[in-house]
């Protein structure tokens, strides 16, 4: 029998606000333990939460980017459970009236355009972080109360690759919208995976297995692959699956059933009495709509169409919004957008990673890239010199034209100069000349190389080839 899997994902994303959700403590990764805390986020007696308006704005903006419906009314609830990292022993979250309603994400996966439904995106608060020692644990509440958006997908994902592509698309959308920095290493994105398996053709979903708290997409991918194989194997062997929560052990590369003695969850949700409900006005929604940006998929399609870039290049650019913005500025007036993209994807990215620069740090401006491409295109410099000019502009921020003039790098196309170089080389390399005459094409390349060296790279390579050929074959 053939089996198919169905995956649903719950993605938790920390919002990019200055302060925490309910208090003025800084929303910032790291810091000495328990130094970004105050009576409110420590759950001290007597404190009250007040909702951060920017977190609500970012939630609604996310809803707009994910094509979600927007409600007339939203509210917060308390989800009650005891855990040492929960400073109030309840989490404030949106239970039955979230700030966004149903939506969907469109993305490309395995050469197809896919669409996955979004059940909801709701706002809640992050919890503290536990460290485990030999016999005890310790809790740091710096992260407690950071605004957290939970984005719940419909169980409509049908392969591990699709899950992975969904997550990457979601991440890119959130970075595009300025919703979150989505820095995985800083724990800004975590996800819970739901996976079930059923025989192909069966309508009902199989037993849902939940794998909680994955903090990397590669981990999620591995866990999903493992879990898919495990479930199919159980079913193939005539076994039955149970609805359960499993834990992914990255070191072992397996999931384990969490058969903890903990009692069944009974979260005893109730409307948060300390926070008033929200009844957003149309004007507020409209003002947020102004921040809606072009989605990565739309941008990708536009780059392919308007700039004629190959899919691989567009993907690389689009997945890095600041680089994509840089590219657009550089390509704006260029006749050779492909050449612009190449310079950015190859030279610029290499230099940036070597010097650990971000787009904001760059001295080299998008107009410089455009100018450099023009210099090559017009034959002012050759493409090898272009590399040197690029590096100099990268370092100094001076204009390419200026660098070319300053260093005398303009291409030599003057025939008498090139003739002289060629004659010198022909004279010095009789063996190669003979070889070429005997029909060895490689020999000409060698001779060309010698001329270029003699000209310090400035000779027009096309012209050099022509002159050499003419002089050797028709002396």
């Amino acid at each position: 029998m053939e089996y198919e899997i169905v995956i649903g994902l719950e993605t938790h994303v920390q919002l990019k606000t200055r302060s925490k959700m309910w208090c003025g403590c800084v929303n910032q990764f790291g810091g000495e333990p328990n130094t970004h805390v105050c009576p409110v986020c420590l759950g001290f007696p007597g404190v009250l939460p007040v909702a951060n308006e920017e977190a609500l704005r970012l939630t609604v903006l996310t809803g707009m980017l994910l094509n979600c419906g927007l409600p007339k009314r939203a509210k917060f609830d308390r989800k009650n459970y005891f855990y040492p990292d929960a400073s109030k022993n309840y989490q404030i979250t949106q239970y039955d009236l979230p700030s966004t309603l149903k939506g969907c994400v469109e993305f490309e996966s395995e050469n197809k355009t896919c669409r996955v439904g979004i059940t909801r995106a709701h706002l809640e608060e992050d919890v503290g972080k536990s460290s485990h020692f030999d016999r005890v644990s310790g809790v740091d509440f710096n992260r407690a109360g950071v605004p957290l958006l939970e984005i719940v997908s419909e169980p409509e994902i049908t392969s591990v690759q699709m899950a992975s592509d969904y997550l990457n698309e979601l991440k890119t959308i959130l970075i595009y919208g300025g919703i979150s920095d989505c820095d995985m290493e800083k724990g800004m994105v975590r996800c819970d995976l739901n996976l079930s398996t059923r025989p192909v053709g069966q309508k009902e979903l199989g037993k849902k297995v939940e794998i909680k708290n994955m903090n990397s997409f590669s981990g999620a991918r591995k866990a999903l692959t493992y879990e898919m194989n495990r479930q199919i194997k159980v079913l193939r062997n005539g076994g039955a699956l149970i609805q359960e929560t499993r834990r992914w052990d990255d070191a072992e590369g397996m999931t384990h059933s969490m058969r903890s003695k903990e009692m069944a969850h009974d979260y005893r949700y109730l409307p948060e009495p300390d926070l008033m409900p929200f009844e957003p006005e149309t004007a507020w929604y409209d003002s947020i709509r102004e921040s809606v940006v072009e989605l990565p998929l739309a941008r990708k399609r536009r780059y392919m169409k308007d700039y004629g870039l190959p899919p691989k290049d567009t993907e690389t650019l689009v997945s890095n919004p600041s680089l994509a913005g840089y590219f657009e500025k550089a390509a704006e007036h260029s006749k050779k957008p492909k050449a612009v993209a190449n310079l950015i994807l190859n030279n610029l990215r290499a230099c940036m990673s070597e010097s650990n620069h971000s787009v904001d740090d760059l001295k080299i401006q998008p107009t410089h890239i455009h100018e450099l491409v023009q210099l090559v295109d017009s034959g002012k410099i050759n493409s090898r010199i272009a590399q040197e000019v690029f590096n100099a502009v990268y370092e100094s921020g001076k204009s390419p034209q200026g660098i070319v003039e300053e260093k005398g790098l303009a291409q030599v196309s003057d025939s008498s100069t090139i003739d002289a170089f060629c004659d010198e080389v022909i004279k010095a390399n009789p063996k190669s000349v003979e070889d070429f005459q005997a029909g060895k094409q490689n020999a000409l390349n060698f001779l060309k190389g010698q001329v270029m060296r003699l000209s310090k790279g400035k000779a027009n390579p096309a012209l050099v080839g022509q002159v050499l050929e003419k002089r050797i074959l028709n002396p």
């Binding site: 001290f44 007696p45 005891f82 009495p273």
Partner: protein, 458 residues
């Protein structure tokens, strides 16, 4: 002196001397000013309101060593007004109770009879004012916790409209019902106190952005022509006859003073106690979840967090608190939410609706504050339901979010115990209540009677 009635949990002797010295200097240098209406006046604070550097025990073993790192908004307001905040007042643990017997360090006694309870939960707040241990005190009122002790001890107790006074720094019992208020010797003092503690607070999302009137000015005008309702449902079965007759006389007095008295009906009153105990305990069960022995407070260790929680909370909380948390947990638990909690919230709408309707026809309501005078220590401790029923006259106004005030209106003869008159008004009608209460006070001398305080200890 406090040995007899045990109103205080702690006193900051050095702190108050320093504050008093500063106040003296300020008065000498600048004289009195309207910005500092409480300059140099000793005000005591119920141990449920955070005061930076002071203990904040809520009468609980669980918080016996807790020292607050911050000030409640009302405490900041008191300090800004020049008050000397010098002591922390006894209360029922986490404000749960009607007798102050649920304090982990023992009850406060009624200044009129040490063998009797002072009411609760702000028993210390009322008793300290009546025993002249302070000029005024702050308390909190979730179901009558300021008004009922005021009635039983014989002073003024004001519960402002929900949202009038900031709750930031008030340790929550039931967030949607709690309100900070005051106990004072006179209505005029209550007006002054209210003026200081009222106002919008950006730290409290339930605080109402509304300007603060000159409350003391309200006392100048007369109640002539006002319409006051007498809700028939508040004259309950089992009401002590002396209470009923005192209220009747008080009503006649109000009529004499020019008010028109009309009988009105609040038909859902009989459901208020049931509704209140579901909502209050449900909210309490989650509000008190934070007291777990992890970040602060008393801890009984365990081999894992679960064991630690159960042991800490099992022995750190007193009996009434445990009973209410369990009731509240139950009414919120899966399968019972709709039948209890949701239902109670709907009934709450009906109760609030009764008030809205009746306040379309009258300016205020007059009722007893408590159906009885102070009872004996221990008398109701084994019967929680009877204790709950004693709040029948006060808790509806918390459900509705209205304001209310209790003022002395008589005494029983043997033993001599005070009786309180309650005035209720629609949201933000504190001026009306103060006006009626002030006129009544002017026309009577109940507030002048003082108990004899002996210093021998109870």
């Amino acid at each position: 002196m406090d040995k007899s009635i045990h109103a205080f949990l702690s006193i900051n002797k050095q702190g108050v001397l320093d504050q008093a010295e500063k106040a003296d200097r300020e008065i000498a240098e600048k004289g009195l000013s309207a910005d500092r209406p409480l300059l140099g006046i000793p005000i005591a604070i119920k141990d449920v309101l955070a005061e930076k550097g002071a203990p904040l025990t809520c009468g609980s073993r669980l918080l016996r060593d807790f020292v607050s790192p911050y000030d409640a908004t009302v405490v900041t307001q008191l300090k800004n007004a020049g008050a000397l905040t010098f002591g922390r007042l006894n209360m029922d643990e986490f404000a749960m109770g009607s007798s102050t017997e649920n304090s982990s360090v023992g009850p406060t006694c009624n200044p009129w009879d040490y063998s009797r309870i002072p009411g609760g939960s702000s028993g210390g707040s009322a008793a300290s004012v009546v025993a002249d241990e302070c000029i005024a005190s702050l308390g909190s009122d979730t179901g009558g916790s300021i008004r009922q002790p005021a009635s039983l001890c014989g002073c003024v107790g004001l519960k402002p409209t929900y949202g009038r006074v900031s709750r930031y720094g008030l340790v929550a019992f039931a967030s949607s019902l709690d309100q900070v208020g005051c106990n004072t010797k006179t209505v005029s003092d209550a007006a002054t106190m209210l003026g200081v503690i009222s106002g919008y607070d950006k730290r409290d999302s339930t605080s109402v952005p509304r300007s603060v009137p000159e409350y003391s000015a309200a006392l100048q005008s007369s109640i002539k022509g006002m319409k006051i309702g007498l809700p028939k449902e508040y004259f309950v079965e089992g009401m002590q006859p002396e209470v009923a007759s005192s209220i009747r006389q008080a009503v006649e007095k109000l009529e004499e003073l020019g008010a028109e008295i009309v009988e009105v009906s609040l038909p859902h009153t009989e459901y208020a106690v049931a509704c209140y105990y579901i909502i209050a305990t449900a909210e309490a069960s989650t509000n008190l979840a934070r007291f777990d022995g992890i970040r602060y407070g008393y801890r009984v260790d365990g081999k894992n967090p679960f064991e630690l929680y159960c042991a800490t909370r099992g022995s750190g909380f007193g009996e009434e608190v445990k009973r209410r948390i369990i009731l509240g947990t139950y009414v919120l638990s899966s399968g019972y939410y709709d039948a209890y909690y949701l239902k109670a919230q709907k009934v709450r709408s009906l109760i609030a609706g009764d008030f809205t309707k009746v306040f379309e026809t009258v300016d205020a309501l007059v009722t007893p504050t408590s159906p009885t005078t102070a009872w004996k220590l221990g008398e109701k401790m084994d019967d929680p339901l009877q204790m709950y029923l004693s709040d029948v006259c006060t808790l509806s106004s918390n459900l509705a979010g209205n304001c209310g005030i209790s003022i002395p209106c008589g005494f029983t003869d043997n033993p001599t115990l005070p009786i309180g008159l309650q005035l209720l008004g629609p949201p933000f009608s504190e001026e009306t209540l103060l006006k009626i209460a002030g006129d009544f006070e002017q026309a009577t001398d109940w507030h002048c009677r003082k108990p004899v305080i002996n210093n021998a200890g109870a």
